[in-house]
Symmetry: C2
Subunit: 300 residues, 2 copies
């Protein structure tokens, strides 16, 4: 596709179609799209209240000159009401006025990994629509980060000064996943100390020669220079990935993740559709029958 | 099994064996164990810092008279280092002196649902060892709760006064899952107001006649009466489940969850073990081959 000007309507409809696709439709879809080029994928993650949306909005403005830019923001939302509390979103949507900037909020209603259903396919669609870069915003400290990590090239972790964020991130193993650390709301007391703590922990890690050493930045949405510095750090990481020949490995990691998710949603569908009589069978029979149904679902 | 006195060594070894079981071993295992009786399963969940471990410790002491009691505490921990920060755990382990009280901390290293790998099988093992009740502690607001919800009869949600906990829980749809709300650290300012807010939100929900209306309790680990009140509320919910004939539905929900997880871990294993040549195949072929391998893995 890669049209010279972004067809926002067509993109919106495509993303909606993917978001609502049944597992069978996803498999169908997977046969045909072969993205011609791949957008840079930047993830920004952090605990609720870390100021992700605001900083991401400013970052998007700072990076808009680098080509067509998409922002996909994953919002936790109710599995029952389907509703999201959109305070953060509204603030960010104010920025969505540039013709080459596209912002979309995605619900994560009850998905097992805390990301939006069918996110790999949506990211592929962004490629089809000629995006140069996609910023993926995810929330939470925990499972979501593992899933986000598998989807992006560069993962930015936002932490709030004097919060329990760092301890929680350490507990969840998130510290080891980040490519760039950001202590946000740097005007708050404790920001410098937290940055120092993170650097100290980083210094305890032995980096192989030529490995990427995650920088620790202090940002405030009100300080444009700090947003530029973050933008530069992202560019540096992207350049390092290219120089280190890491892109092929990232592509494989995504392919694995996508295949697994595709099978998992089929499994969930097959299991959810079974009745009580099925569940009363011995487990071995349940497994066999579920496997047979899975084969039909994926057209194997 | 159901031995007259708890064989802690045997239980510990069994849980370790299950925690480390390969997907193939899990399938094997699934053929043979048919739990004779089912322990009550009580989940306690809430954001980090809500005081879950401390309150759960006191609750365990309050409920120890009701029969053999197990506590399984799921700790987020690093997917790489495998290490957990055990501050909370150590506090709770001090309580583990009763011969009929068994406490075990489980890592959730990088599991897709934020619970421990093979948790359904561990819970079944607790049944085999004659536990009357299992308290399951999970952390985080988000995906983990969906998974915990599928594992327990009674879900207690802990919230901290004047925190963002309630808004986050609403966003994530957790409020609609809880059977009992607890505003913990009730000495903090804002506790009463938060309880009122939760009740108000509850009053907006239309309950069917005879439905369970989740109570909202104020607790403090330092106030034994508040812990007793929580314990009573759990008993009332358990009695309601029995009277309303809900247990069969809960058993089916667990059977579904267990089957799905069992298939998912197999899928993850199959996908992880594929090489680059496999990932270069067209997706349809990848799906087909993965399905064939899955069939072998589950012995279908």
């Amino acid at each position: 596709m890669n049209p010279s000007s972004l067809d926002r309507g067509a993109l919106g409809r495509t993303l909606t179609r993917i978001a609502n696709a049944t597992p069978a439709e996803l498999v169908q879809r997977a046969q045909r799209n072969t993205p011609l080029h791949a957008a840079r994928r930047i993830g920004m993650t952090g605990a609720p209240g870390a100021g992700k949306s605001t900083l991401l909005g400013h970052l998007a403005m700072a990076r808009a000159s680098k080509g067509r830019l998409g922002v996909l923001a994953v919002d936790p939302s109710s599995p029952r009401s389907g509703g999201a509390i959109l305070g953060d979103r509204i603030r960010m949507d104010e920025l969505g006025t540039s013709p080459e900037l596209y912002i979309r909020s995605l619900g994560s209603r009850g998905t097992s990994d805390g990301l939006a259903d069918n996110l790999p396919e949506m990211l592929d669609a962004m490629d089809d629509f000629g995006f140069a870069e996609v910023l993926l915003e995810t929330v939470g400290v925990g499972q979501t980060e593992y899933a986000a990590r598998a989807q992006v090239d560069t993962l930015v972790l936002l932490l709030l000064p004097d919060s329990g964020d760092m301890v929680q991130a350490m507990k969840a193993g998130i510290m080891e996943m980040a490519d760039i650390f950001v202590v946000n709301k740097a005007d708050l007391p404790g920001a410098q100390r937290m940055a120092t703590d993170i650097r100290r922990i980083g210094a305890l890690t032995r980096h192989a020669p030529g490995a990427w050493v995650p920088p620790v930045l202090l940002t405030a949405a009100s300080r444009p220079a700090s947003v530029s510095a973050l933008s530069d750090a992202i560019d540096q990481h992207q350049a390092w990935l290219a120089a280190a020949g890491r892109q092929a490995a990232l592509r494989r990691q995504r392919a694995r993740y996508r295949l697994r998710r595709l099978l998992e949603v089929q499994v969930a569908e097959v299991v959810a559709s079974q009745d009580d009589a099925f569940l009363a069978l011995p487990l071995r029979q349940q497994l066999s029958q579920a496997w047979t149904l899975l084969g039909k679902a994926i057209g194997a």
